[in-house]
């Protein structure tokens, strides 16, 4: 193919990548660019993620900032920058400073608004208020109602913004499942309302205040966004998050355009609209390739101010990683196929955090031995590198027994336990080897109900412990690392021992 043919094809491709809804013409239209991110989860440092690229780091605030600036420069007076939530929780550099570095990045990039995601509630309401106070943009959540009346303190249902004379309402929505996936104490006085029930009235109100375009900033997930677009008329654009979906080409449901930019800052979303300023109707929009990959290699653009900001926090986090969180009088040593002292310590921490009768930890989730002495935060990350959460559920005694039988089967790594002792007779057939199980000093009763704390890997049925999937009244807690860190801080010096919580006979 010669050069002119390629240029012609490119030009045709560019035209085809814009859709023209209805009969409207684009001649007098003004360009509006919606830049967006979601589910950053604190990834302001570039990171190597084999699920995305094997050879180069991705994401990182310095790079995505430069991409945002480049995109904004193409339409400086017509660009909006939005976040669909879950921006802070997820990496050490953000977690240790309770999201402060991310807010600084977002302030520097001049975000216009952010929908609250369920993980914005992970650190409690005081931490959220500190972030809101630090933010120079509004937090939006239209479907949270508090028992004290009104919504979540400090969050607004929507905000009005204008670009090129087009007034737009940006309405924030959060998933109602936040009630399930958040620590109960953080949401005890809150109700999460069904989005489709609150949205029509809000759209009406915003239109009454002059909004020509309605943008829903949604932390609901793509499936729910599509359902919302089918149920509620009058939504022009949904900028989504929560399902971590890389919507490379916008989805169109009725007259609603839906976008979402993956997760962890691996993309910046860039949706181009052309809007008739007289009617505020979208006359054209980009229909393909609306995600800009964020690859942090030597050729990538980088915003030096943002890079300096991130580096400052990165230096501080190195010092934080050296912080001593507790002390152990003994070496903490794993035993994949037997009870271990470090397994007992972790299971005890889980049980205490969940205020449960029984604690379980999978041996495979413990990834290092630690020497006696100071335990630093960095060592905790090597001990427990997975981002597991502590969860608590109700199981019947017979279900606990099933788990103990599966553990004693020894086809996979056994469970480390707390709050119970168990004796196995290995001469008996698999499935009937537990000959004694004592919970909190009393014989385990098959019909009784027990509160059982574990981690989310096991709760999903990991390591073939599928009975955990049958638990009821599931309550999410803190991350396992935080739980163990708190336990060490509270109980140090610790001296965990192998104390025959599990005995194998014959």
């Amino acid at each position: 193919m010669n050069r002119s043919s390629r240029i012609l094809l490119l030009a045709v491709g560019c035209v085809l990548a814009w859709a023209i809804p209805g009969h409207l013409q684009a001649s007098q239209a003004v360009p509006i660019t919606i830049l967006h991110m979601n589910d950053l989860h604190g990834h302001i440092l570039p990171y190597l993620d084999k699920t995305i690229r094997e050879d180069k780091k991705v994401s990182g605030a310095a790079t995505f900032a430069a991409i945002i600036q480049q995109e904004r420069a193409r339409n400086p007076a017509g660009t909006l920058l939005l976040s669909a939530g879950d921006m802070f929780q997820g990496t050490p550099i953000s977690n240790v400073f309770k999201g402060e570095p991310v807010i600084e990045v977002m302030n520097a990039l001049q975000f216009d608004a952010m929908a609250l995601g369920n993980h914005e509630l992970d650190w409690g309401r005081d931490a959220l208020q500190q972030l809101r106070t630090a933010a120079r943009f509004p937090f939006l959540a239209a479907n949270i109602s508090s028992t004290g009346g009104g919504g979540l303190e400090g969050a607004r249902p929507y905000v009005l913004v204008s670009r090129h004379g087009v007034k737009m309402a940006v309405i924030g929505l959060i998933t109602a499942e936040a009630a399930y996936s958040t620590k109960p104490a953080h949401v005890a006085d809150l109700s999460f309302l069904e989005p489709a029930t609150v949205l029509p009235e809000l759209i009406k109100r915003a239109r009454g205040e002059g909004a020509g375009l309605v943008i829903v900033l949604s932390h609901l997930g793509l499936d729910a966004d599509e359902e919302l677009a089918r149920k509620v008329s009058g939504i022009d654009v949904i900028v989504g998050g929560h399902s971590h979906t890389a919507v490379t080409d916008p989805v169109r449901i009725n007259s609603t355009i839906i976008v979402q930019a993956g997760y962890y800052g691996i993309y910046v979303g860039a949706l181009g609209l052309e809007v008739d300023p007289k009617t505020s109707k979208i006359v054209r929009y980009t229909t393909r390739d609306v995600l800009r990959p964020v690859v942090a290699d030597e050729h990538a653009p980088a915003d030096s101010n943002i890079a300096a900001l991130v580096e400052r926090y990165n230096n501080e986090i190195k010092a934080e990683f050296a912080r001593v969180v507790g002390k152990s009088e003994v070496d903490l040593v794993r035993q994949p196929m037997a009870e271990s002292n470090v397994g007992n310590l972790i299971a005890d921490a889980i049980r205490e955090a969940g205020a449960a009768d029984i604690g379980f930890q999978n041996g495979g989730g413990i990834r290092a031995d630690l020497p006696a002495g100071d335990v630093t935060l960095e060592e905790l990350y090597t001990l427990l590198p997975f981002d597991n959460l502590v969860v608590t559920m109700t199981l019947k005694g017979e279900q606990v027994l099933e788990l103990l039988e599966a553990s004693g089967d020894q086809h996979t790594r056994i469970l480390q336990v707390s709050g119970l002792t168990v004796v196995y007779d290995m001469s008996r057939p698999a499935g009937s080897r537990v000959v004694q199980a004592i919970v909190q000093g009393e014989k385990l009763r098959p019909e009784a109900q027990y509160r059982v704390a574990t981690n989310d890997f096991l709760a999903a049925g990991g390591d073939r412990f599928t009975t955990f999937k049958e638990g009821s009244n599931l309550v999410c807690g803190d991350t396992l690392r935080d739980v163990v860190s708190d336990y060490l801080s509270k109980h140090s010096r610790v001296k965990p021992e192998v104390e025959d919580r599990m005995a194998f006979k014959n």
């Binding site: 399930y180 890389a246 999903a460 390591d463």
Partner: protein, 78 residues
Amino acid sequence: MDEQITVFVNGAPVQIHRGMKVKHALIAFDQKIYAAAMDGRIIVEDSRGFRIGLEGALSTGARILTRPRNSPHCYDEK
């Protein structure tokens, strides 16, 4: 709302606790698939063919699919 939801992994129904994520559905379906997804040997997509992250949220009836990765990096995957 029910405490457990059913989602579909490669067409097979999988039960998970409400609020759990893509990674939990893969663990519940087949832990080897989960390990392969973690290593980047397979890609996880939704029913529309959009790539989804392992920490992505799932709702009742969600359909997720796994397939071997064709390209060294997923930005090239279509």
